[in-house]
């Protein structure tokens, strides 16, 4: 197991190195001169050639590409992603809190997704084909296919305006989490519960289920065995849900005025704030690599056959 983790870590680090190189390189393919952008963002009225050259020198942009890349990479490793072109503040002071806020929202949502998917997945698999199964599938299908902005608006209208129970936006108390997390949960649970349901159904016909019944085991025990085997597939999906949601909360965050990554990156992209975009891509890539590794390790912990190969 130890050797496996080390092997995976080496692969992950080299993958991240490649991603960072591509991310940094993309900025150089952009037709815009970064130094000019900085000056524009700072509101300098008269941008001269000398001024651009001066800014370039002060930002280290007159160095060769590889030197610049390695300078950037080493400072990134110390969580120093440079300064924002627009506000001049350190990128990490903007990205750090936003990442934390989105991560909190994501974790709450993923917890909801896991609970709902397992709960509904098990119930629907055990009562396959009857009215309950069909209606749960139908309702979750509608909720999952509804665009997030529509669902969010309806929720705000009902829970915040009609019933006046929950805040419409912002991040003030734990109650602020409920609506945005619910929207994300309902959007994803409708897909993920099907994975649990179908893998439970495929397990139902396995011989070990028949033998368990033939030995007189109670249905509850048998269901737990089936669930344990079904989760092997689902665990990797759930793990990958965390970085996926982390990177796709833009709509929900904008509607609920959530001070998170989505809001920050949209503003940065519109303002061509390259350091923030670079840092965002890097952080998200790291999250994907990390959770991918985590899902493999969890899968191995659940599946003894995989564990043997490690």
């Amino acid at each position: 197991m130890g050797a496996y983790i080390i092997k995976r870590a080496i692969i992950s680090v080299s993958l991240l190195a490649i991603i960072s190189f591509v991310t940094y390189g993309l900025n150089f393919l952009s037709p815009l001169e970064p130094a000019q952008l900085v000056l524009q963002a700072q509101g300098v009225p008269n941008i001269t050639v000398e001024l651009i050259a001066e800014t370039k020198a002060s930002l280290g942009m007159d160095q060769p590409f590889l030197v610049q890349y390695f300078d950037w990479l080493t400072s990134c490793l110390q969580l120093n992603f440079g300064n924002s072109y627009v506000s001049g503040k350190p990128v990490w002071s903007l990205l750090g809190p936003a990442l934390l806020h989105t991560l909190q929202l994501t974790l709450v949502s993923v917890a909801g997704i896991i609970l709902l998917s397992i709960g509904f997945g098990v119930i629907c698999a055990l009562r396959e084909g009857d009215l309950l199964d069909k209606s749960v599938r139908g309702v979750l299908f509608v909720l999952a296919s509804m665009p997030a902005y529509l669902l969010a608006t309806l929720m705000i209208w009902y829970f915040s305006v009609q019933l006046d129970l929950l805040p419409t936006s912002g991040m003030t108390s734990y109650r602020s989490y409920l609506l945005p997390a619910l929207v994300i949960t309902l959007n994803y649970a409708g897909i993920y519960f099907r994975i649990i349901r179908s893998s439970m159904l495929s397990q139902l016909n396995e011989d070990y289920v028949l033998y368990g019944r033939a030995c007189g085991l109670p249905e509850r025990t048998i269901t737990l065995h089936i669930l344990r085997n079904s989760l092997q597939v689902a665990v990797s999906v759930f793990c990958m849900a965390i970085p996926t949601i982390l990177g796709s909360t833009v709509v929900v965050e904008n509607i609920f005025a959530w001070p998170g990554l989505g809001t920050l990156t949209v503003n940065s992209i519109l303002g061509r704030d390259f350091p923030i975009i670079q840092a965002y891509v890097l952080v998200l890539a790291a999250a994907f690599v990390l959770f991918n590794m985590l899902s493999d390790l969890l899968g191995a912990a659940l599946n003894p056959k995989l564990r043997k190969e490690l």
């Binding site: 139902l204 011989d207 070990y208 033998y211 019944r213 033939a214 030995c215 007189g216 085991l217 085997n229």
Partner: protein, 273 residues
């Protein structure tokens, strides 16, 4: 005395309307071995599962199943569950698939014994170890900490037999217990089944399409074809004096196979010893 009497058993698929077993009646005496033979898809397994009411999904059944004067067909789900394992035991065809692949073997054994006898972990392991030693499994304590994929099909089959020894059922249903095994494991499993029967005096329903094993174990034989019992009788009768064309075909194909085996191996077959 009959330990099991099945009358007018009908098994059908509700979804497709296909009748799998149209109308079967048979009985088995205390301590006897009844063998059901027939080719694949002739309804042997379905009949066995119907006895324990284990057919699921769209498969429905009707008819009376009298087990020690209790009609299994009329019992509640809870009642029949308490009989399964403790009084009616099943030995599955594929040892490899019979245990939860993500748990060690011991988990299933502990759960089963806790369910029927309320045994705790150390008690159930102690009993199981004795039973596993009696079916000549080495290092039983270690085996119980192994996952199914770490053991061989023959070993898993013998674990199921050992569990049956601990459970002391009145009737064991062995659904093709040797089909998935190699010749040597087949021989060992047959020996264990013989011993199980002589030691515990329980009745056995042996489903097989391997007539060599049937000849060795069975007292009585049912021949099934397409869900219908085409011939029944004592094992001796069936093998020496088959009346139905289908039985003659099965017996002759077995003889032909054995002849071929003798020719190739130049001696006696393992099971014929």
């Amino acid at each position: 005395m009959n330990i099991l009497k099945v009358s007018n058993l009908r098994v059908w698929d509700e979804l497709t309307g296909q009748v799998i077993v149209p109308n079967s009646s048979f009985h088995i005496k205390q301590g006897n071995c009844l063998s059901i033979v027939g080719e694949s898809g002739s309804g042997k397994s379905m009949t066995c599962r119907a006895i324990m009411r284990l057919n699921r999904g769209s498969i429905r059944q009707s008819g009376d199943i009298l087990f020690r004067d209790v009609n299994l067909a009329e019992l509640s789900d809870k009642k029949i569950r308490s009989l399964r394992g403790k009084h009616l035991c099943m030995i599955m065809q594929h040892g490899m698939r019979a245990f939860d692949p993500s748990c060690v073997i011991g988990v299933h054994i502990r759960e089963t014994l806790a369910q029927h006898y309320g045994l705790n972990r150390s008690e159930s392991e102690a009993r199981m170890i004795i039973a596993m030693e009696s079916v000549r499994l080495k290092d039983p304590a270690q085996i119980m900490n192994k996952y199914p994929h770490q053991l061989s099909g023959g070993m898993l089959q013998r674990i199921m037999i050992a569990l049956a020894i601990v459970l002391k059922p009145d009737l064991i249903i062995a659904d093709e217990p040797t089909t998935a095994l190699d010749a040597i494991s087949q021989y060992e499993v047959v020996e264990q089944l013989l011993e199980l029967r002589s030691r515990m005096g329980c009745a056995i329903i042996l489903v097989s399409h391997d007539l060599r094993i049937v000849q060795k174990l069975a007292d009585e034989v049912l021949v099934m074809k397409a869900g219908v019992i085409v011939e029944r009788g004592t094992a001796q009768d069936i093998f020496s004096n088959a009346r139905h064309e289908y039985t003659k075909y099965l017996v002759s194909s077995k003889l032909a196979l054995n002849k071929h085996f003798h020719k190739v191996m130049g001696g006696t077959g393992i099971v014929d010893r």
